[in-house]
């Protein structure tokens, strides 16, 4: 029973990805977006789940890298990989400049500072029209590809994105099961106790911030190459809200949770579409029930039953 419950979300997620490959079309697009979000959230989870911090601003790093990829490939005809290298560098540089002073702050201050950086980058994307073309957005971005080989089919893109997600999750799992990952978990558990054991707390928070910014940058660049279009709205505040929903639904702090959350939350609007006007109501109620009865998210459903039995 318990194992069955734990496997259920995985079964649904795998079935949906398989279904996308079979049917193609619109459903492939939904799953592709889910995979891009999964990369983003796997990274966000390093900072929020492993290290126990809060950021409302990681959309900024996705936007920085995404726009860099867009401008360099669409306007200057760069290779996607070279453009991403520049975008990643820029995102990390900004993360370093923002993170270095703010990560010495605790709790709310840090969250507010990250919110500000998200809003600032969004405004720049709108106002700097000579480069970003404002609300119009940039089209004609090179498709996902490397060294002249381009992935043009929707199914091919989805497959490539799934490979990225697996690699991203694999890297996160390695980070978690290391000296670095334990130091982050220690900070999440008790900063005082971590310091008393010699852990340099600001240093590790900054490292986690940079790692998660790198994931966000990758997600941003993947998005523009998959959709071949970008506008400020893509990386707006709604990205933060959706990412938070996915992270908490899937299971914050777990390895598989971000993937589950990304796939399942992406499906919810489709599931509730038939309810028309009541769609948002059921969507909201479903999320609240899940957070009450499965605080560790879908990835923690198996443990939920065992805990109930033990208490």
């Amino acid at each position: 029973m318990r194992r069955g419950l734990a496997a259920l979300p995985w079964a649904v997620a795998c079935a949906m990805l398989a279904y996308a490959f079979i049917t193609g079309g619109y459903f492939v697009t939904i799953m592709s977006f889910a995979m891009i979000y999964a990369v983003f959230i796997i990274g966000l989870n390093v900072f929020m789940g492993f290290a126990g911090q809060v950021s409302f601003g990681h959309n900024a790093f996705a936007a920085l890298s995404g726009y860099t990829s867009a401008v360099l490939t669409a306007t200057y005809y760069w290779e996607p990989l070279a453009a991403f290298a520049v975008g990643l560098g820029l995102a990390l540089l900004v993360a370093l400049v923002v993170g270095w002073p703010t990560l010495r702050l605790k709790g709310h201050y840090l969250a507010m500072a990250t919110l500000a950086i998200g809003l600032i980058v969004y405004e720049i994307a709108i106002q700097w029209q000579s480069v970003t073309q404002g609300y119009m957005g940039i089209s004609g971005i090179a498709p996902l590809g490397i060294g002249g080989y381009e992935i043009v089919s929707e199914r091919g893109k989805l497959f490539a994105l799934m490979v990225f997600v697996l690699l991203a999750a694999f890297a996160a799992a390695r980070l978690r099961a290391s000296r670095f990952g334990r130091a982050l978990a220690a900070i999440a558990g008790s900063e005082d106790a971590a310091r008393a054991l010699g852990i340099n707390v600001p240093h590790y928070k900054l490292a986690a911030f940079l790692v998660s910014a790198a994931y966000a940058a990758l997600a941003g660049s993947l998005f523009v190459h998959v959709v071949e279009f970008v506008s400020p709205e893509v990386f707006g505040l709604h990205m933060v809200v959706l990412a938070f929903t996915m992270l908490y639904v899937g299971g914050i702090g777990t390895i598989g949770g971000p993937i589950l959350g990304a796939v399942i939350v992406s499906l919810l609007p489709e599931v509730f579409r038939g309810l028309k006007d009541y769609q948002d109501l059921f969507y909201g109620a479903g999320l609240i029930l899940l957070l009450i009865y499965a605080p560790k998210g879908l990835a923690g459903l198996g443990n939920l039953m065992s805990r109930g039995g033990k208490a």
């Binding site: 054991l197 010699g198 852990i199």
Partner: protein, 254 residues
């Protein structure tokens, strides 16, 4: 040889002098206890030694270095490791992983080594794990390695916190009221564990309310009252000291 030495260490909170010009010497080896009634300034003293609070005056020397007002992580790196009055375990980690965090100072490796996981990283991980298991065995928690830290009984959580501190290979181990909340039986086992730690060559400095534990465990006792040191010496002498009796029983002018 003196391992830790405090000279005129003072801490004020507004008009209140919590710790008033304390001098204290902790010799290398053995167990030293700081006792005193509630509000005597024991915890403030500990916080200053471990870097969590800054003294207003005075100097703290540890292993030949001036550690006054240095940050906690630097003091920890110099070999002075503390535990907390309210157990501060890492709830999101298993019992074994909690102890592995204690090995932080004696290992290396950040993001890159975690991602690459080379042969030497794996070797270090194996050493860290075997050391953690050994310490788990030392405090008698060998069966609980994979349990969640918070699933342990309170007394076991205390022992786990001590094992975690030992993983950092301290020259001096500071225990902040380790017997608080323990049963008489658990307290007796704790006393044996502290003697065993001292027996392995780690100097121990503890703050404690539990007089029985202190009398049975400590080689030297310093008594604080209202931020001042009122007595110091071996348990037998301190027990007979009129100022100490007055402070604890509240009779006469201390």
């Amino acid at each position: 040889m003196t391992l830790l030495s405090l000279q005129g260490v003072t801490r004020r909170f507004g008009g209140l002098v919590a710790v008033d010009a304390i001098d204290l010497e902790v010799a290398q080896g053995g167990v030293t206890a700081v006792i005193g009634p509630n509000g005597a300034g024991k915890t403030t003293l500990f916080n200053m030694i471990s870097g969590f609070q800054t003294p207003n005056a005075g100097r703290i020397m540890f292993a030949g270095q001036d550690i006054t007002a240095r940050p906690p992580e630097e003091i920890a790196a110099s070999g002075l490791i503390r535990t907390f009055q309210l157990v501060q375990l890492f709830q999101n980690l298993s019992v074994l992983e909690n102890i592995q965090v204690g090995c932080h100072l004696h290992t290396k490796g950040g993001v890159l080594s975690a991602l690459m996981r080379t042969g030497s990283t794996r070797q270090t991980e194996r050493e860290v794990e075997s050391r953690a298991l050994e310490l788990l065995d030392f405090v008698g928690l060998e069966g609980a390695a994979e349990a969640e830290a918070t699933a342990l009984a309170y007394g076991q959580q205390r022992l786990l916190e001590i094992a975690r501190a030992l993983a950092a290979k301290p020259k001096l181990l500071l225990l902040d009221e380790p017997a608080a909340g323990l049963s008489a039986d658990e307290s007796k086992r704790l006393s044996a564990a502290i003697r065993a730690i001292a027996g392995r060559g780690t100097t121990v400095l503890l703050i404690e309310h539990d007089m029985k534990l202190v009398m049975n465990t400590a080689d030297t006792i310093a008594v604080l009252d209202f931020g001042r040191k009122i007595a110091e010496g071996p348990p037998a002498t301190v027990r007979e000291n009129p100022a100490v009796i007055a402070a604890y029983l509240g009779v006469g002018d201390a």
